[in-house]
Symmetry: C3
Subunit: 234 residues, 3 copies
Amino acid sequence: MPYVSREGDVFVLNLGAEGEQAGENRFHPDWMDAIHASLDEIEGSEGPAALVVTSTGKFFSNGLDVEWIFGHLDQLPEYLDRTHSIFSRLLTFPMPTISAISGHAFGAGAMLAISTDLQLMREDQGFFCLPEVDLNMPFTVGMSALLNSRLPKQTAIEAMTTGRRFGGPDALAAGIVQATSDATALLSSAVSRAEQLTSKRGANLGGIKRSIHGDLIGALETKTRDTDFAFGQQ
Amino acid sequence: MPYVSREGDVFVLNLGAEGEQAGENRFHPDWMDAIHASLDEIEGSEGPAALVVTSTGKFFSNGLDVEWIFGHLDQLPEYLDRTHSIFSRLLTFPMPTISAISGHAFGAGAMLAISTDLQLMREDQGFFCLPEVDLNMPFTVGMSALLNSRLPKQTAIEAMTTGRRFGGPDALAAGIVQATSDATALLSSAVSRAEQLTSKRGANLGGIKRSIHGDLIGALETKTRDTDFAFGQQ
Amino acid sequence: MPYVSREGDVFVLNLGAEGEQAGENRFHPDWMDAIHASLDEIEGSEGPAALVVTSTGKFFSNGLDVEWIFGHLDQLPEYLDRTHSIFSRLLTFPMPTISAISGHAFGAGAMLAISTDLQLMREDQGFFCLPEVDLNMPFTVGMSALLNSRLPKQTAIEAMTTGRRFGGPDALAAGIVQATSDATALLSSAVSRAEQLTSKRGANLGGIKRSIHGDLIGALETKTRDTDFAFGQQ
């Protein structure tokens, strides 16, 4: 389960379980509940603050929990709405937010990574990838809006239509992330940047983010209907 | 008239007549019918596939057929709607699409070139240019939406308000095309990239493209009215 | 007060008073009236023309006139609507427009700078900065739309959420400006570029700009309500 640690005024939300190196950090309903609970805890703090989202091990997040989905196909629309709620909450979180993309960020995991204000990525390992085109999966309205709003248009088209795996340097060149660093420096670099921004925390920053992402939040809050998302079909 | 050839699983749509080097490949109604018929043929194929759009000779496409328009001014709205249908169809074509911009791409020809997923351009000859501002012509709602959606904003502003002629290297720097190559390598480079993507072909890819370009398709499908587009007037 | 001079067919709108080096060129109601009167004068000219917007001294424009606002809080919505009218008018001005950002461009001054077609900036002095996040100020709907439309998305997010001060080279790298030059060459460089574009002047160019910025103009023309903009509050 995700957990929160703290370095000074910087909260670090780890997407995986403590001590776990092989977890895929997929969007299981319990995992999403834990993410929201962690964000509740962080948001409940007082004073200057910033948030770094990262993970330990091979995966940042491997996306939707396909195994859970196939066992609960009747709950798919609500599941996708819940997935969207993670993106919306990060996009408008009332403190500075940085993703430290430490491993593979696939599908919804890639979308989570670009729901923060700034993206740093490990330069030597891990891919940013949208495999939906190869899995015969569509994007929801909200997911497509997120990708097309947060990525340069040509990058969104390439990522969504080809499933290209972007390593750190390629992700930097494509405008997906704003900096890369080696594995040992990634988290400290993210925390260091976050420290410089903790004074911005507050309701006004949340309002500014809502003004930036207003249309996108509207798309993410659109309830998913059965007919919008036929999983595994054409 | 445009014609289709095939290299393995890659269809090559040539915008000009076979053996013709001087054709301007303008949007004559018969030419548009032939483009749609070619796309019908390609779409009617089965199995892995991708599409390269190119031409031979001096022009990729020199845009609207001004001579035809002045002889049929009463049919201008329907003519423009038909022009838009070429862009819409390419934008949502259910297989990977690449433009190999082999010569001048002007006006609607430039718009056609950016209606595919990826753009390659000859580096030593040919311009991408929107001459409308110098011809005292407006852009339709759909054309403006296409240019502002597919080009980086500042590039759209410069291209649309100044009529700047972008050669290959300038088009690359401005984010209009994603790669350039010399004349002899252009088509083979496009076909080679397309070959790697043929497995993506299918209805799901078409749906992904519609989700990417949803608002743009809506603008292109808006019927043109007389009052929207006064050709040759201010 | 702002004043207009002329170099051949290029009008130069100086945002500050003649001979004044220390003026902040803030958006006082009288200053905004003078800007509109200057633009009326320029628009009333005949023949080829282009516009360069610049200033002399330390500030390009330091933004909203906070002192005036606190003395007239009951008039804030109308004041903001008037501010928006400067941006809208420049965005759709029927001749080529270039900002020569000669000094600090802060808040509404930064927004004015990106309401022209092209942005040049002094390389050695002056910052482009949105200090709102540090001043506990929101952005109006129109201001947020302007920043998110005219800047690359990631640049808009960074500028709006962190208040980063972009010097010339940083502004160039972030896609805020398209070129930089030293202090002595800035104005002549802007005038020289403008001279090459004077033939584009006319109603058709104004229409092209309205088609580019249609949604943005709609946002800027939305009347500000008291509840949209609580100055100095969270």
